[in-house]
């Protein structure tokens, strides 16, 4: 696994996500470019490296976001670990698997994050939050194939398969 490539991808995602948000959103739907990166590495690398990449991805998101430092790291590690543990049951090379896994786990991650926000600030509106989670996850899943293609080009997955165990 090329760590420099990983950090370059992470840097580019952080830059894009924190500056171009208002150009890529559709109404309140905003894609999360960090999430497909977590899914990508959970699909193809061993658990130790998966935890490290998820931690760095979450930390990077935390640095560009207001709120408790480390909360995204914890959620990304949990999501990454769970995807890693069930990946044996999935046909990882298929496009539909990538989209569905990104969509489903994005919903789960956002629900947990919303729960954390509700407990901390008590100011989210349930119906609008659920709608926002759904369309943001849908948008993230829609851009996932494109991101997977880029990640695949930069970090060839066939070189990662030896790290599966």
């Amino acid at each position: 696994m090329r760590w420099i490539t990983f950090f370059c991808i992470l840097f580019c995602i952080s830059l894009f996500q924190s500056t171009m948000m208002n150009w890529i959103n559709i109404g309140i739907a905003v894609p999360d470019f960090y999430f497909p990166l977590v899914v990508f590495y959970s699909f193809f690398i061993d658990v130790k490296r998966n935890v490290i990449t998820s931690w760095f991805t979450g930390l990077s998101k935390d640095l560009f976001s207001e709120g408790a430092l480390g909360i995204n790291s914890v959620f990304f590690i949990a999501v990454g670990f769970f995807i890693w543990s069930i990946r044996g049951m999935l046909f990882r090379g298929h496009l539909v698997t990538k989209i569905l896994v990104t969509f489903f786990f994005s919903i789960v991650y956002n629900l947990f994050y919303a729960l954390h926000t509700v407990i901390t600030y008590r100011s989210l509106n349930i119906s609008s939050t659920i709608w926002m989670i759904f369309i943001c996850s849908l948008y993230t899943a829609a851009v996932a194939p494109f991101l997977f293609y880029i990640f695949d080009k930069l970090q060839p997955t066939k070189n990662l398969f030896f790290m599966e165990k």
Partner: protein, 205 residues
């Protein structure tokens, strides 16, 4: 003849008294003008020394879908400190949540952690403007008997000494009184659309 002399003396006395009165009033006038000029100079000085306005560019947005904040290109080196107010187009944008050396994080009015003391301009009722991670905010503690209508303006209140008084925050777009509820449920649209601005002003108190 004697009566005429008496009337003349009386008129002369009256004229003398009036002349004295004029001098006295001129003196009072002069003193008051002096006082007025010193007060306005004091006010001017106070305004200059108390508030400093720092222009800033927006250089980043929040990466989380549940938080609403922006990053601006001024920090403690430019004189920005935590809790400074951020405005644009004479409307409230938010509050400096964390000031770094060269950049600062601004918590927007739509952030779920944002609570701003405000008042309804038309009814003068005190309210709290609360963000909820959507493009809208909600008003808290609006009594059910308050006659609020669509288009009413919400301005900031200086209660708590965090915000300047009477800065426009939002406009009422929807209100509803649920049966049995103590307070109305009011949805407001912030005056500032953060997606359409590039610059802000930081007001340093």
């Amino acid at each position: 003849m004697w009566q005429e002399q008496e009337a003349k003396t009386e008129l002369e006395n009256e004229a003398f008294e009036l002349r004295n009165k004029i001098i006295e009033l001129q003196d009072i006038n002069y003193k008051l003008q002096e006082k007025l000029s010193s007060v306005s100079e004091f006010q001017k000085e106070q305004k200059i020394s108390k508030s400093k306005i720092i222009p800033a560019d927006i250089i980043g947005y929040d990466t989380s879908i549940f938080r609403r904040s922006i990053t601006i290109n001024v920090g403690t080196k430019d004189g920005v400190t935590d809790n400074n107010i951020v405005v644009t187009d004479n409307a409230l944008v938010g509050l400096i949540a964390a000031a770094g050396q060269r950049t600062s994080l601004v918590q927007l009015v739509t952030d779920p952690a944002s609570r701003i003391p405000g008042k309804i301009l038309q009814t003068r009722d005190q309210v709290i403007v609360e963000g909820n991670a959507s493009p809208y905010c909600q008003l808290k503690y609006v009594p059910r008997w308050t006659k609020i209508k669509t288009g009413d303006s919400i301005v900031s209140s200086d209660i708590g000494s965090f915000y300047l008084s009477s800065l426009p925050i939002a406009t009422v777009i929807e209100n509803e009184t649920k049966g049995g509820a103590l307070f109305q449920s009011v949805k407001v649209l912030p005056m500032v659309n953060i997606t359409k601005i590039e610059n802000v002003l930081v007001i340093k108190e």
